[in-house]
Amino acid sequence: MSAQATPVGGKLLTPTMKGLLILVGIAAVLLLWRFAAGLGAVTNLSDGYPWGLWIAFDVVTGTALGCGGYAIALLVYAFNKGKYHPLVRSALLASALGYTLGAIGVLIDVGRVWWTWKLPLFFWTWNLSSIQLEVALCIMLYTFVLWIELSPAFLEQWAKGPESFLKRFAAAATPKIMRAMPWLIALGMLLPTMHQSSLGNMILLAGPKLHPLWYTTWIPFLFLVSCVGMGYGVTIMETMVSRTVYKRPGETRVLAGLGDAMVVVLLAYVLIRVGDTIWQGKLDYVLAFDVFSILFLLEVLLHLVPAFMLMNKAKRTDRTYLFRASLMIVFGGALYRFSAYWFAFQPGDHWSYFPAIPEILITVGLVAFEIAAYITIIKRFPILTGAPPATAKA
């Protein structure tokens, strides 16, 4: 009966991993081209659509997919629901990787990456009116915090190993980090509250270019609750998949228990989204049944249907049922973000944008990198809890 985490162990270079590394390799080559020739060579971004797949997915959705750590931390540390503790580390890992993917996505997307180091350091030039400033600094800090929060997994493993620099480092660092941990955990709940909501506010600066069905002062709230929902959804999916693949206890009861919190955030999203739309007199846009109204309805449905699914406490203990509900939430939240940052962004009818193939392949490669890193870390470091089956080998 061990809530202790252990590395999964086993061969790293599996066929899956090889496939992932090929995708990463392709992306790496394309990135060389991107930096040598400029963004226009590799993407279909334009002055009309300066943000596209990389911002909408890698950064905005990628970080939302990395909200598992945040969402679980809220339950475990703010609401004191200790039973979710076994999920924390793997959620943190997914989060750390998700945010790192987001950060890498930013570094790839910005046109003048050589000055990015100035952003956290040159505080005297900060434009405090810039919503993106808060988002950028917050995400930078949070990414750092996530890896520190996750560091006990690395430190434990290094402490167990043979005498080495890492072992000595672990011995020195562990007590300091453990002392700081409560502060870091609290910070790890504060920061996403700030930047995930501000990510919503940020796109409001598009002003008349943002379709009315997405333009609302409730957008920070909506981004926040949907990212919490996505956090739970991703945690459930990622927990289920990794524990199935690596033959760890499924923790289904625990995961199903997340359903209560999910119902709250999902219903909050639906009520505020629909309510605000009607209140602002924008029902006509919903009833237009054009692309935008369909996106709106799809987003709402992808939050509403899982909410109802999860209200069924009996059914939600079925893994497939729970997984599918989670899948819908993740797609719904992702779609909401894709819409806000891409589909509902209208620079004018004469502009059109669809990512170029290299652009898509770089994103695919980044995701492959994230998955490969996840697999590597859970195999080598104590992330997954629960004893492995006695006879099983990963």
Partner: protein, 373 residues
Amino acid sequence: MSGPLELALQASSPGWHRRDFVKACGMAAAAVGLPAKAAAKFVQNAEAGIKPSVIWLANQECTGCTESLLRTSHPGLADLIIDLISLDYNEALMAAAGHQVEAARRAAMERHAGSYILVIEGAIPTKDDGIYCKIGGMTSYDMVHECAENAGAIIAIGSCASWGGLPSADPNPTGAKGAPEVLAGKTVVTIPGCPANPYNFLGVALQYATFGTLPELDELARPKFAYGRTIHEHCPRRAHFDAGRFARQFGDDGHRLGYCLYHLGCKGPQTYANCSVQHFNEVTDAWPIGLGHPCFGCTEQSLAFRVALHETVDPNEILPPSLFPPIFTDRGPISPMATAVGGAVVGGAIAAGVMASKKVAENTAEAGAGEEG
């Protein structure tokens, strides 16, 4: 333009043959836009000795229009013109002088009453009973009226005769006016220009001489074949205007590269004339813009000698080229290939999710009791 020049060269040498004459008539007809059969008619008339009489009056003028006509190539062509018509009175070119000339004029007018061509060159002063121009004791004003009485056609050559020209520039001390104004009520074809383009005159004169008709005229009685368009509409430098390339100062790079002279005060956009396609002196580019100086609107009463040479003017009409950027241009076509790849990725993600949803059911191993709480 080398055709008539070569002809003139030939003509000045001995051995001038009929076929050369026929060719010359053909070129003259073509040069003024008359059909080939006009040339045949010229020849016919010449051989029959039928030559219309021309009375050419000179008022307040610089004789530039006559000179311009004489510069339709080497004297050869001038001779031809004189052979096609009977120039019965022309103060600049006649050998005789004095009262005999005036008498000859009246005799010719009587002899060819109703069919002679009256050409008026120069403005007509009207102030103080027109005393500022007198020929043989007669004011221009009276002379013009006397000659116009029985003329078959009246042609005012040059801006001075058309609307007053230089003499009429402010403060117009002599009350100079153009022939149409002085001969109110009569049809006066005007060929403005300073000087007039000789081919414009030749076209009208030859058409009348051969067919007895006048070409289509605009509201200022100018033949439309020459004055139907502004210089701006048919200028060889128009592409530079459209591209925004201008000479800003005489001698600057733009000027040396032959850019549009609009900023130097070209009146082309408001000037109706055909100098851009019919050059002077039969030398290519022998016209103001061709030589690098802006058009000064010499045909237009509102411009010439009124608006400063290097002052810019609005175009009469806006005629943007078809490539002018519109307010919105469609950008960014979507590649079907990319859409396919993108679709495949998203579809793949959804499919993987659904597959995974089934696979995860296989994991039923739960952590032991004590997990709750």
